[in-house]
Symmetry: D2
Subunit: 313 residues, 4 copies
């Protein structure tokens, strides 16, 4: 790769240029009003390589709602708190169902398939709450995000959080359903309150790519030198992103892009090339599976041009 | 990796020694009598690196029934015949269900989730049959396997094929079910006959690791210099192995081993480390998800000691 | 029937005697503490024939929690309010699933299969709430029950209602799930509050048999002479009780008893013999499908000895 | 009823007249060519009352393919052979799914929900085959039908049977699926061969109404005086017809018509009014649930005008 590194900035520049020109932008999520208001023409791509060099283009300093991307970081946090005991409450298999499906929960007695579908992420959030007041747990998550990105300006968009609280009936259903099986231990309101808030974290692509560098580099953030998780745990979180990171579009993403990643309905995708780079892309329009349409195409192009696919050159 | 290569033989030797000693061997498949007769103490591991150096241990020249591992090669063959039109008949998403589930077929009008569950592999076989007599299609597949492994002694175990034909009621159900939706085009008997025969191919770990080298090396077999598929297609087959290669244990395999692979109920697992090695392991005892118990543990150890996980060092 | 009427009292007496002696009483529901406290030895049977003669035995004046039996009366009330428009929000088919299943809701976009599973009864309750305060809707339902039974002492057991409110996570899940599809129109808390209260109505077998006489007699209560519903609607409610009145034990109940009926987890069963009698039985112990164990046996015996099965003598 | 009997002929006459005039005839089944060839304008209605008086109109002597109506008679025959042991192989609950669904079989280990969905009827047929050659079992069923109808001209339409054999992939799937769980004991080909043949029995409405009189009259055919089944068993078969006789339209049929009945995709419906009449109707056009469209409307009218609904006057 060393010979290609000089080109990374131009590759990113070309991709951003191409994407800005495209007409097929997908559909901006409308299920909460705050997301629907986002400018559909926004596009950003940031790649931070192993040396810390940043290749960035488009609206890369504009914050957006990271939504389900936050699940990667709450999983990291919960694993740090309870270790492999977490897996008593959530599985590690792709679900083969949409992000908000409740069918599988009935068959498997309230235990969600993996930490990246909504039910699984709510169960992970419940581990973080673990007896604390919602306000404390939200503070804990926010501090963790700021620590990861080494940026104390990261904040939660309360309008988004409140909006989800008012309209997130399906998530209320999922949480109460798990509660009926004892998979949720805290009051449902507490856990959901925290969940809605961490999904409402606002970050720019630059902040996101910085925050996730530990997953590209054996669990250690090269910028700070601080170890976030063990190398083994970093690999395993990456494996979960690859198999489960894009709901029932996970297989397709692995097939086309070939990088571990996690998408959010705000149009962001976080991805990593192990040992090589931390990547964040943002394009608000979504495809039919609820993943960023141009974001996925940009990553597919990036992986092809850099040869970074984990499945071979 | 070059500094580690000298150690590969000793790593393989140690793993084989450890595995031969273990008491927890899983359960040999009994659903067809011929498989139940296999000696549960057999164990073999073969690793062929990029230079063609072979590290092998245990019963690595003993042929066994490759069963579902054949699905990787029939997928390769069918993609060569019809290209991406194949995806009209089979999906690319993990199924989240056991290998022989029929539930998903009803919901999705007879189109199987991916080419590695039984229904999907039968649909892929149907593409290979495509109007030919079963005998011709079987011959075509066998020739392809011999070409890949550069070994003309590879053969089909007719006792196994006949046994599956007599007892494979669930597969007959799956095929007729797809036929009712028009997803199977040839007579069901033809397609199933070919399917049962390619699952009954007998190969040793050495033959298997040789046959699969093209998937580790951008679609080209380094031994013969012949290109089997394009680099892009090789990556994509690898992605499918990672997300779907072990039925409803695929997430677990990715999480623990971190290498694209495909298992068979004969106890074999074929895996690759992109750019680095082609790997075959065989231990007849299975875990509860139907994958080789010691085979998976051996690969987990191998990946850890070589640092070959595609999800990071 | 006139020749049999003299015998009805002795038939009822014998059944009550037999049932009081039996050791197999099933298991009292424990999912809310208030239900678990009920004396498992209680048993009551009341039959009121077309002339108004009452044959009663056991603890027939002891009130118990009617639970899901209330769904018959809320269905009657809602049909009176909106007529056949009700069927836009709830179906009329047996569900083939347990009473609190959520799977079918996902497949059918939030529309419950029938008014007697929990989800369906919640949707019916939502129709009754229709913009009113919960307190008003609860009052409306209670007034309707008192009118039907011509008994102004009927009351709601607030301890039971509060207990369901605190522990009914699965019902909260069902209601929020339907809300996410727009099938519930009022605030979920309102509708569920009313639902929990009407399930917590306490009635004796005598009150229950009196309240339900209109369903045995073409929609008219012979005691008061007042018409409650049209003859056609009475028939149709009876048909729904027969096909859907006992969750996934409905087929078995029809097969064994042959009378339209509705059970509740409090151990009560209300049933009718069209043109002949209104029947209530109570035995707190439940069978595996959640229906009163001795209650069902008592009704089976009653139907056999009277020849009242709707499926022939 | 005696005062109404004089009117029965005119009621039947008026219904036939009305139905012949209607434009909404539903859609003739096309899944096998032989059924698609039927004249969509055919209509017949036959009612035989307790005294044996026949009210008939339309094409009541024209034979048609009784299809699934045969399941009522094979159930009767199998119960006569093995009694309640039959229920080890098939359940008694409505399925809540279409007639040819395979989903429920996977969840319940190959045991079909009831004897009137396809899978259940195949399991019942397997009991009748029980070690005999298909030819013998087919003969047995045909003799039983001729005995019931007291008519030795009843025959099987071999073109229909052959056509189902060639195209009934879904039934082949169901049978093999059950075989994989051991629910089918004979060779699948044997059992399916017999199943396809009894579905291909041709009868006129007059023959059908005669054959089914035992179910209206406590198990005894009033014409021959011969007892076919016990009164209890007759009641129970009637209960199964009511709860399960029309696939996922069973609830609707009970709600609208209120008579136990069984429909077939040939457009026939057999129904009974317990103690009063045996009824057969035929109109080839089907509704969306696969039941005769005008047949159901005719029965609804008949039940309303006679007051025969089992759910009250």
């Amino acid at each position: 790769m060393s010979s290609q590194t000089p080109d990374l900035k131009s590759i990113v520049g070309e991709i951003v240029g191409d994407m800005k020109k495209r007409g097929d932008k997908g559909k901006v999520a409308t299920y909460i009003p705050e997301l629907a208001n986002v400018d559909p023409d926004m596009f950003a791509l940031v790649v931070i390589d192993a040396k810390g060099d940043v290749a960035a283009g488009g609206d890369f300093e504009t914050p957006f709602s990271i939504q389900s991307i936050s699940k990667v970081f709450t999983l990291t946090l919960a694993l740090g708190m309870v270790g492999d005991r977490l897996w008593r409450r959530v599985g590690r298999e792709p679900s083969g169902n949409p992000f908000n499906s409740i069918v599988q929960l009935e068959r498997e007695r309230g235990v969600p398939r993996n930490p990246f579908i909504n039910a699984g992420a709510i169960a992970v959030t419940d581990v973080i709450v673990s007896g604390h007041q919602p306000r404390e747990a939200i503070g804990e998550i926010l501090r963790f995000m700021r620590f990861l990105a080494d940026d104390h300006t990261i904040a939660i968009d309360r309008a988004v959080a409140d909006s989800e609280k008012r309209t997130g009936f399906r998530n209320v259903a999922l949480a109460n359903y798990m509660k009926s099986f004892g998979v949720i231990e805290n009051p449902v309101d507490f856990t959901l309150g925290v969940y809605f808030h961490h999904c409402a974290i606002s970050m720019s692509c630059l902040q996101l790519a910085r925050a996730g560098r530990y997953l590209a580099h054996s669990g250690r953030n090269p910028a700070t030198g601080l170890s976030v998780v063990s190398p083994e745990r970093a690999r395993r979180i990456n494996a979960l992103m690859l198999t489960c990171g894009h709901y029932d579009g996970s297989g397709e993403f692995a097939y086309r892009v070939g990088l571990p990643g996690k998408s959010g309905v705000g149009g962001g995708i976080f991805a990593i090339a192990p040992g090589k780079a931390s990547i964040a892309v943002w394009a608000p329009g979504l495809d039919s599976a609820g993943n960023s349409h141009l974001g996925r195409i940009a990553l597919e192009t990036l992986a092809r041009r850099t040869g970074w696919s984990i499945f071979g050159v």
